[in-house]
């Protein structure tokens, strides 16, 4: 039995899947006509840009949050540790769409109360939900990375007379971040997919722009097909990047 396919073989397979879908659903070539126009692609490209932007903001902002979650859980005082465990586990066990919807309700109410217009927009709720969710997931990844370091690193650092904070900052975290980098790239791909949920509460990103297009042209299947292929290209590329990083950093999945 073969371990795994080579990239070109997988891509040939994706090609087979992409060829079978129009056959199974009897899609009509004529309905792809809007995609012959540059304006359609510009409209979608702007959506993709928003998707990537929201994902990038969420993941960058999630790093300090993840660090807080990981450290609180590993070595925080008891009064902090248990609430953080409950929060992290709770966030991860809830559907992201529900979290987004709830934050949209609360943030827009808060925004109206304080007179801050930006908070009432769906963008704020989408990014806040992705930030919390990714913070929880990355916090766990970081915690796993810290725990995966050999004990000797700690012992050496402490026996050199470093304080807990110094050992963490100078010895443990730089190595843990290195190990957590490939999962972070993979998490970015997950965010690109999850941002599409924002469409449901009114965030006009890539998927929502596809919906706007097909409501005008009445070609839902053809438009969603193209939109899905765009998502695939972006995330496949990110997946390869994560794999390359993993190899270059000399890490292997355990």
């Amino acid at each position: 039995m073969q371990a795994s396919e080579r990239p070109w073989q997988t891509l040939v397979g994706v090609g087979i899947v992409l060829a079978l879908i129009p056959l199974a659903f009897r899609m009509e070539p004529a309905r792809f006509a809007p995609f012959l126009e540059g304006s359609t692609w510009r409209f979608l490209a702007l959506g993709l840009l928003l998707t990537l932007e929201a994902s990038a903001i969420a993941i960058l902002a999630s790093i300090p949050l993840a660090l807080f979650f990981a450290l609180a859980r590993l070595s925080g005082p008891l009064w902090l540790r248990y609430p953080v465990i409950a929060l992290v586990e709770g966030i991860r066990a809830l559907p992201l769409l529900g979290l987004m919807f709830y934050l949209f309700l609360r943030l827009s109410a808060l925004g109206r109360q304080l007179g801050i217009e930006a908070l009432t927009r769906p963008d704020a709720a989408v990014i806040a939900a992705l930030w919390l969710y990714t913070g929880a997931v990355n916090g766990e990844a970081l915690r796993a990375a810290i725990l995966s370091l050999p004990r000797g690193q700690w012992e050496a650092a402490r026996s050199l007379g470093l304080t807990y904070g110094q050992a963490m900052r100078l010895v443990i975290l730089p190595q843990a971040f290195r190990r957590a980098l490939p999962p972070l790239v993979a998490q970015f791909a997950t965010l690109v997919k999850d941002t599409s949920l924002g469409a449901i509460i009114g965030f006009i990103e890539l998927y929502r722009r596809g919906v706007i297009l097909f409501q005008g042209e009445r070609n839902p299947m053809e438009t969603l097909y193209v939109v899905s292929v765009i998502y695939f290209i972006v995330n496949y590329t990110l997946g390869r990047l994560a794999g390359t990083l993993e190899r270059q950093l000399g890490l292997h999945r355990g």
Partner: protein, 213 residues
């Protein structure tokens, strides 16, 4: 709408969420096992197809898949599908990619000697998979399949976008009627009631298997 009504709608939604999760998992298990087996089959194009299927669905969001299936099932020859049926098909096809990976890893975890023995007995590939590999791989597959199922339960909330009256849909409906947001917190609690014990069970099984192997 009284508090009792709110609970009534939410519990109705919970019931639909459970039915949707189980039905979709059924489809995902059947299709995912097939694709996972193709992933290690001796026929290269079948292997490529299976690898492509897994890669494609893992890299795209669920929402366009659900809406695609919802608008496309009648064209694929299935008449009058309800939105529930569409959601089962969409969730099943999507989750099958994740099940397939678990099945592949399970099949590959079986010792090489088992494969050599099966082949030297003159078994065909399907016989070997059915009689030798899957029964042995099944134990290893249970915890990761549990993880896939938990993700599926959470994903059923996205079916609210195609008007399946599951838990999140009902919570949004109730909030639209009462203008209070506490029903969403109850809905969260109901989701936790399903997902938290399941992930506890997965962790327990993982630890047990680690000891046994």
């Amino acid at each position: 709408m009284s508090t009792a009504d709110v609970w009534h709608y939410l519990l109705l939604g919970l019931w639909t969420t459970l039915r949707l999760s189980l039905a979709s998992m059924g489809v995902a298990l059947a299709l995912g096992t097939l694709i996972g087996v193709l992933r290690v089959s001796p026929v290269p194009p079948l292997r490529w197809f299976a690898a492509g299927y897994v890669e494609f669905f893992r890299d795209i969001p669920l929402l366009p898949v659900l809406v695609f299936v919802y608008s496309g099932l009648p064209k694929a020859g299935i008449r009058l599908p309800t939105s529930f049926d569409s959601a089962v098909a969409g969730l099943g096809v999507y989750t099958a990619a994740f099940v397939a990976e678990v099945v592949r890893a399970g099949l590959q975890s079986v010792h090489r000697g088992q494969i050599e023995a099966a082949l030297s007995l003159g078994m065909t590939f399907p016989q070997m998979v059915r009689l030798v590999l899957l029964p042995q791989a099944f134990r290893m597959m249970i915890p990761p399949l549990g993880t896939v199922f938990i993700a599926l339960v959470k994903n059923t909330s996205i079916a609210s976008a195609i008007a399946v009256e599951e838990l999140l849909y009902q919570a949004e409906f109730v909030i639209g009627r009462t203008f209070a947001d506490w029903p969403m917190l109850i809905a969260f609690l109901l989701y936790l009631v399903i997902t938290v014990p399941l992930s506890g069970l997965v962790n327990f099984l993982e630890r047990r298997l680690r000891i046994l192997f």
